[in-house]
C-alpha cells in the first residue's frame, strides 16, 4: 500500500547529488569555456556598443529625420510618418530619449539577428520533415521556458550586459519567424510548384523565385511577431544589465512609481506600434507589387 501513498521518488541525497553534479558540471564548463565563448561574441558586442553610441551621439533632429525616412520607405504612408515623428517627439519631450535610443539599438540588432538566423532555419525546416520534427519541440521549449531559467546560465557564462541580453531576447523572439517561414513555404500550392517544375526551373529557382515570394505574407507576419516579442523582452533584458526603457520600468515596479512606469511602458508600446505598422505596411506593399505583376 505504501507504494501508492507516496510517489516512489529518488532519494533526497541522490537528488541533491544529481543537482549538485549538474551545477558543478556547468561551473566547470563555464570556467573552461567561458572565456572562449565570450571572445566569440566580442565582435557582436563591440558592434552593439558602437551602434548604441552612434544612436546616442547623433543629434536628435537627424535621428528623427532618419526614423521618418525609414517609416516612409517602409510604409509609404503619410499618417504613419506623422505618427512616427510625433511619437519620437513626445518620447524626447518626456525625457526618455536616451533610454529609447538604447532600446532601439538592442531591438534593431536583435531583430536583424533573429531574421538572419530564423529565415534560413525556417527554410531548412520546410525542406525536411525530420528537421521539422526536431526543431519544433525546441521552439516550443524556447517559447515556454521561464526566462530566468536560461538567464542564470547565460549570465554565469557571459556576465551581465548587452550580449547576454541579446541572447535572452532572441531565444524568446526567434520562434515566430522560424515557424511562419516554415509554414509559409509549406503552404505554397502544389500546382504552382508543378507548373514551375514543368517550366524547367531548378531547385534554387523554385525556392527563391516561387516558394519564398509566395510565402512572403507569412514570413512578414513572422518578422512582425518577432519584433513584437523582442520589445516584450526589453524589461527582462534590463534585469541582466541591458540599458534602455526597461531600467526605469524596473525602478517603477519596485517603488510603485505609477507615472514613471506608465510613461516608459507607453514608450515601449509606441516603439512597438511604429515597428509593427511599418513592417506590416512594407509586407503588404511587397505583396501588392507581386499581385500587380501577376495580373498584368
Amino acid at each position: 500500500m505504501e507504494l501508492f501513498d507516496e510517489f516512489p521518488s529518488m532519494g533526497r541525497t541522490d537528488l541533491r547529488d544529481l543537482k549538485k553534479g549538474i551545477d558543478f558540471a556547468f561551473r566547470d564548463f563555464s570556467r573552461e569555456n567561458g572565456e572562449a565563448i565570450e571572445n566569440f561574441f566580442d565582435p557582436l558586442m563591440y558592434f552593439m556598443v558602437w551602434f548604441e553610441k552612434l544612436l546616442l551621439a547623433a543629434p536628435w533632429p537627424i535621428m528623427i529625420i532618419i526614423f521618418a525616412v525609414l517609416a516612409w520607405l517602409g510604409a509609404r504612408s503619410i499618417p504613419i510618418v506623422i505618427g512616427t515623428v510625433a511619437s519620437f517627439m513626445t518620447i524626447g519631450w518626456f525625457g526618455m530619449w536616451e533610454d529609447t535610443m538604447a532600446t532601439v539599438a538592442i531591438i534593431s540588432v536583435a531583430t536583424a539577428l533573429c531574421i538572419g538566423l530564423g529565415i534560413p532555419l525556417g527554410i531548412l525546416m520546410s525542406r525536411s520533415n525530420r528537421m521539422q520534427s526536431v526543431v519544433t519541440p525546441v521552439l516550443d521549449i524556447m517559447q515556454t521556458i521561464p526566462s530566468f531559467v536560461y538567464l542564470i546560465p547565460v549570465v554565469m557564462l557571459l556576465g551581465i550586459g548587452k550580449v547576454p541580453g541579446l541572447i535572452a531576447v532572441c531565444i524568446y523572439a526567434i520562434p515566430p519567424i522560424v515557424r511562419l517561414t516554415n509554414l509559409g513555404i509549406r503552404l505554397v500550392d502544389k500546382e504552382v510548384l508543378e507548373a514551375s517544375e514543368a517550366f524547367g526551373s531548378s531547385y534554387r529557382q523554385k525556392l527563391f523565385e516561387v516558394q519564398i515570394p509566395l510565402a512572403l505574407p507569412n514570413i512578414f507576419a513572422g518578422v512582425n511577431q518577432t519584433i513584437m516579442m523582442a520589445l516584450a523582452m526589453v524589461v527582462i533584458a534590463s534585469m541582466i544589465g541591458v540599458k534602455g526603457l526597461g531600467v526605469p520600468v524596473l525602478r517603477a515596479v519596485s517603488n510603485q512609481y505609477l507615472a514613471l512606469g506608465l510613461m516608459n511602458g507607453l514608450a515601449i508600446v509606441a516603439l512597438a506600434v511604429i515597428f509593427d505598422r511599418v513592417s506590416q505596411e512594407y509586407g503588404k506593399r511587397l505583396q501588392k507589387h507581386r499581385q500587380g505583376g501577376h495580373g498584368a
Binding site: 549538485k20 567561458g34 542564470i152 554565469m156 556576465g159 550586459g161 534585469m239 544589465g241 524596473l250
Partner: protein, 334 residues
C-alpha cells in the same frame, strides 16, 4: 506504586545531580528569525544553552519588527540573537533606557552589513590596496567588458533603495573622473551572476553587496574598509540616501547595527553564565560564511548547520563558554 515512587525519586535525583553539576538555568525562549544566518545562530544558541548550561530552550519563529514588538510588550521571546536595529533605533533606545531590555552583544557577526565588496584574492594579489580609497585609484584592475578602458563598479539593482546611495557615493568618491563606470546589474540575479562569473574565473570584481550571505561566503567576498570614517548621520539620511543630493560627501557606509538583545526577565531569572555566553558569542565572518554555504549547498536547516558548526569550529565556540560547558557540549555531540 512502589515502582512509580522509585521512578520519581530517581528522576529527582538525576535532576538534582545535573543541577549540582551546572547551576539552574530554567526556560529560555529564543527568536529564530526567518533568514538563514539567524536560523543558524538561534540553533547554535539552543544547543549551547541546553547542553552547556542546562537550560530548556524553545525556538520561536519571528521577523525583525514582530519579534521586537513582542519582546517589548510581552517579554517573549527572551532572546533575539540577531536583531538588525537600524530601523528600530528610537524604540530600542527607549527599551534599553527603561531597563526592560538589555543589549548583550553589539556585534554578534563580524562584518555584517552592507558595503562595497571585492573577492579576497583581489586584495591578496594587490597588497597595496587596503581601503576603498586605494581601490578607486585602480580602475585598470576591474576592466568593464564592454569598454575595457573603464573600470566596472557594480551598483545596486534598479529600484532598490541602495541604488540611490550607491549612485551618490559613486559621485562622492569622484569615480567617474577616475575612469569608472557604474554598472546597473538590473536585478539581484544579475548582481549574483556577475559575482559568480567573475569569481569563478578569478577575475576581479568590485561592487555593492551585503553580508552575511551564502554568496559572500561561497565566493570569499570581503567587505572593504572605506578609508574614511562614517561622516554625518544627518548627511546620510537627508542627502546620500535621497534621489536629490547636490554635494555628496565621502563617507563610510552607514554602520548596520546588529545586536543580541535579551529581556529583563532573562537577566533576572536565568543563569548569569548564559548571559555571559551571549556577550562573548561573536561569529567570525569566514565561519559564518562557510556555514551559510553549507546550508545552501546541502539545503540544510539551521539545526543541521548548528551541529556542523559545533563539530568543525570548536576553537571558535569553546572561547565563548567555560571549559566545563565546552566539555558537556562536546560530549552531547558524540
Amino acid at each position: 506504586m512502589n515502582k512509580f515512587v522509585k521512578g520519581i525519586a530517581v528522576a529527582g535525583l538525576a535532576t538534582a545531580m545535573s543541577q549540582a553539576a551546572i547551576a539552574a538555568c530554567g526556560d529560555v525562549t529564543v527568536a529564530e528569525m526567518n533568514w538563514a544566518s539567524a536560523e543558524f545562530m538561534a540553533n547554535v544558541d539552543k544547543i549551547i544553552l541546553e547542553e552547556g548550561f542546562g537550560c530548556t530552550v524553545e525556538l520561536i519563529p519571528g521577523a525583525t519588527m514582530t519579534t521586537f514588538a513582542s519582546m517589548d510588550t510581552k517579554g517573549v521571546p527572551d532572546v533575539a540573537p540577531e536583531l538588525w536595529t537600524n530601523s528600530l533605533t528610537a524604540p530600542l533606545a527607549a527599551a534599553l533606557a527603561s531597563g526592560s531590555m538589555h543589549k548583550l552583544n553589539g556585534m554578534p557577526i563580524i562584518g555584517a552589513g552592507e558595503g562595497w565588496f571585492a573577492p579576497g584574492f583581489t586584495l591578496e594579489n594587490n597588497p597595496e590596496i587596503k581601503t576603498v580609497l586605494d581601490l578607486i585609484e585602480r580602475p585598470d584592475l576591474f576592466p568593464h567588458h564592454e569598454d575595457p578602458s573603464k573600470g566596472a563598479f557594480y551598483g545596486c539593482p534598479a529600484g532598490w533603495g541602495c541604488q540611490l546611495t550607491n549612485n551618490n557615493l559613486f559621485r562622492a568618491f569622484d569615480m567617474e573622473a577616475k575612469g569608472w563606470l557604474l554598472v546597473d546589474p538590473g536585478s539581484a540575479a544579475g548582481l549574483d551572476g556577475s559575482i559568480a562569473k567573475a569569481a569563478d574565473r578569478g577575475n576581479n570584481w568590485l561592487g555593492y553587496y551585503w553580508s552575511p550571505t551564502a554568496l559572500a561566503g561561497k565566493y570569499g567576498l570581503v567587505k572593504l574598509d572605506w578609508g574614511v570614517p562614517f561622516g554625518d548621520k544627518d548627511h546620510w539620511d537627508n542627502c546620500l540616501t535621497q534621489a536629490e543630493c547636490a554635494e555628496p560627501q565621502k563617507t563610510a557606509w552607514n554602520f548596520s547595527e546588529v545586536n543580541t538583545i535579551v529581556t529583563d526577565s532573562f537577566m533576572k531569572n536565568n543563569d548569569p553564565k548564559a548571559a555571559a555566553y551571549f556577550g562573548k558569542r561573536v561569529f567570525p565572518a569566514d565561519a559564518m560564511g562557510a556555514m551559510l554555504v553549507y546550508m545552501g549547498d546541502n539545503q540544510a536547516g539551521g539545526e543541521d548547520a548548528a551541529i556542523e558548526f559545533l563539530l568543525n569550529y570548536e576553537d571558535v565556540w569553546s572561547q565563548w563558554v567555560g571549559v566545563q560547558a565546552a566539555n558537556l557540549i562536546k560530549k552531547s555531540l558524540n
